[in-house]
Amino acid sequence: MNQLSLYKSFDNGSFVILVDQAKERYLATQNLDTGKSVYGEKIIKIDDLEYRIWEPYRSKLAGALLKNLKENPIKESSSVLYLGASTGTTVSHISDIVGNKGMVFAVEPSVRVAREFLENVASRRKNIIPILMDARRFLHYYSYYGLVDVVYSDIAQPDQTDIAINNCKCYLKSGGDLIIVIKTRSIDVLTDPKLVTQNEAKKLENNQFQILQIINLEPFDKDHSLIHAKYVG
């Protein structure tokens, strides 16, 4: 990777695509927390602006964008409920995108991972509100600020779709977007991944969701797929 230059920038301030001399493309977001790299990704300066490379093998949303996610619902100044924040790889990029006017509510039950998340991401960025709770007990996290525009769910649990639906019903505004990463192997190891994804999509449709796009994340993550849906309820 040598000498990256700006290839395309998206109007709503979401993310940019950089290109190197061999015409290979890289996703990047403008760094909100200047000078700090969260998970060892490269920081690049172009025209006094600082960008962080968004690695598709580390973040499933980046993988989906590279696999042609038609419409990225996460824009500047939108508020996002993020279920399964983990160490904050994707959260940091989403926080870059939504900017200082937006809000990210990051839910994470595991204390061990949250320790790093709090230290490296949440305490350094002003638009992140960490919530250390199980997403199953969604009625318990009273620390909440109105309804959100987007719910992003990335939890490896057998009932991950139900958890996401419950959270949406409580916190997603009608007409808002749900992005859910289906980890088929943690729902069912035995059945075919395609079938599992179909079943989960059907479950969403039965709960007042309108499926917009289903993306198979194949080269970046094995047996994972990402569903983009709209909440009509």
């Binding site: 320790r115 709090l118 620390s143 190891v189």
Partner: protein
């Protein structure tokens, strides 16, 4: 009579409905992150109280200290018929104060989420702050609260003793690994100089002591060996063999490095000892029942595998039985092979000393009592229960050992079959080692193998094309 009864019921129902819908004496009692809000049926704010230190107030409420709540309950001059709350833990408290209280419904929860911003703005208005940066002020306060609250949770969790137990048992396992590799390397190296010692001394620490404190084999003395508490007859043999050893000479440089290796082994063994004692003591403290049933190390390994004692207590006994045999379990699910009988529990002295056909039954008996023990340790810490648990388990173990002294006929047959299969496998494996035409002839006869061969060929071609 029945018609009269019905009338009474209908009247009662009507009055209940009236109470439920006609009165506006129903309030929502919402505990929010920055304060307490009391809202009436039409979502109009009746009262709100801002916490001065939100983290402390939430801690108080969590620890069932309801001082702040009772203050804001004094707002009601007439006691409300029904209170709805978003915080399930305080329902009992509200009921004790002669309020009807219930959990807020999901629809109303959502509605209060929508209204929350207005709650906060009004809360801040009442404080008569300047209106300019209010929105930012609220979200800054929210963020500050949630950061502090979650750091507090992290801190709380890091202080739990069971996490320390699982760390120390993992450290013990890792040190065992290192001790093994470094120890064998030391034996191998010193074996160049004094090869016979390897067979004479089993204990790695005494071996390392000899290497580090004496060094060359000619300098080994009887007094030194006596100080290491080696039996008399062995000392004689060691001195004898040292005199006519087949080993080569050792240069000073090599000896120095070897001695530092040996010192490493000794210090590792010391750490191992302290870790073992520490696990023993802290298991006694945190889960005495589990320790009584499973021995300290096996109990600690179970806790480490499950993540914490709390999580172990929430597992079913069947899960505990195969904890640590996940690979075999998934093989069963995928291919229908025999399910694993035991995972980590195999290290339990009763199970691994038992004959093969008893192990499954023993593992089941032990895991069922272990599940109970973990729950007792977590929730009640009743020392008496360990006696009853252990005696019941012992009864069951002796029962199994007597009832299934011999394997059943089916098991015997299976064992014979397994033996035959193993025999056949080793036969065909040896066939593979033969050279020449005969080998290929034999393999072609095996249909299964042929199929595999073809499959391999296809795959090979595919990858070549790419």
């Amino acid at each position: 009579m029945p018609s009269r009864n019905n009338k009474v019921i209908i009247l009662y129902l009507l009055s209940y409905l009236e109470f439920r819908f006609m009165t506006d004496n129903v309030y929502k009692f919402l505990i929010l992150e920055l304060g307490i809000a009391i809202v009436d049926e039409k979502n109009m704010i009746q009262s709100f109280k801002r916490f001065h230190d939100p983290v402390q107030s939430h801690l108080k409420i969590k620890n069932r200290d309801y001082e702040e709540i009772s203050e804001s309950l004094e707002v009601f001059k007439v006691k409300p018929e029904l209170l709805q709350t978003n915080y399930p833990e305080i329902i009992d408290y509200l009921r004790n104060n002669t309020f009807h209280a219930e959990k807020i419904s999901a629809v109303e929860e959502r509605q209060s989420q929508i209204d929350k911003i207005s709650f906060y703005t009004e809360m801040y208005d009442s404080d008569q702050q300047d209106h300019s940066g209010r929105g930012r002020d609220i979200s800054d306060n929210l963020r500050e609260f949630s950061l502090k609250w979650s750091s507090l949770k992290v801190k709380e969790a890091s202080e739990q003793l069971d996490l320390h137990i699982s760390q120390s048992i993992n450290a013990l396992d890792e040190i065992d690994k290192i001790l093994n590799t470094v120890g064998t390397r030391m034996r191998e190296w010193y074996g160049l100089h004094f090869p016979e010692l390897d067979n004479l001394l089993q204990n790695i620490v005494t071996y390392a002591n000899i290497v580090s404190k004496v060094g060359k084999r000619e300098e080994i003395t009887v007094e030194f060996l006596q100080s290491l508490e080696i039996p008399e007859n062995k000392i004689e043999i060691i001195i004898m063999t040292a005199k006519r050893s087949k080993g080569g000479k050792l240069t000073e440089e090599n000896l120095l490095i070897l001695q530092s290796l040996a010192n490493e082994v000794i210090s590792l063994a010391q750490i191992r000892k302290t870790l073992e004692d520490h696990i023993d003591i802290s298991m006694e403290e945190i889960s005495p029942n589990l320790k009584e049933l499973l021995t300290a190390t096996v109990g600690a390994r179970l806790i480490a595998k499950a993540g914490s004692l709390k999580r172990l207590a929430s597992l079913s006994s069947s899960t505990i039985q195969i904890l640590g045999a996940e690979k075999a379990l998934f093989r069963t699910l995928k291919t229908g092979a025999n399910p694993p009988k035991h995972g980590l529990l195999f290290q339990h002295p009763v199970i691994h000393s038992a004959p093969k056909w008893q192990r499954g039954k023993l593992a089941r008996a032990i895991s069922s009592k272990a599940a109970i023990a973990a729950r007792v340790d977590l929730y009640s810490r009743n020392p008496e229960s360990s006696n009853t648990l252990a005696s019941k388990l012992n009864d069951r173990i002796t029962e199994i050992q007597e009832k299934y002294k011999e394997p059943s006929e089916i098991q015997q047959r299976q064992q014979q079959q397994n033996f035959k299969r193993a025999d056949r496998d080793s036969y065909t494996r040896n066939k593979g080692k033969q050279y020449g035409r005969d080998r290929d002839k034999d393999r072609d006869g095996d249909r299964d193998f042929k199929f595999k061969k073809n499959k391999f060929k296809k795959r090979f071609h595919k990858s070549n094309k790419k």
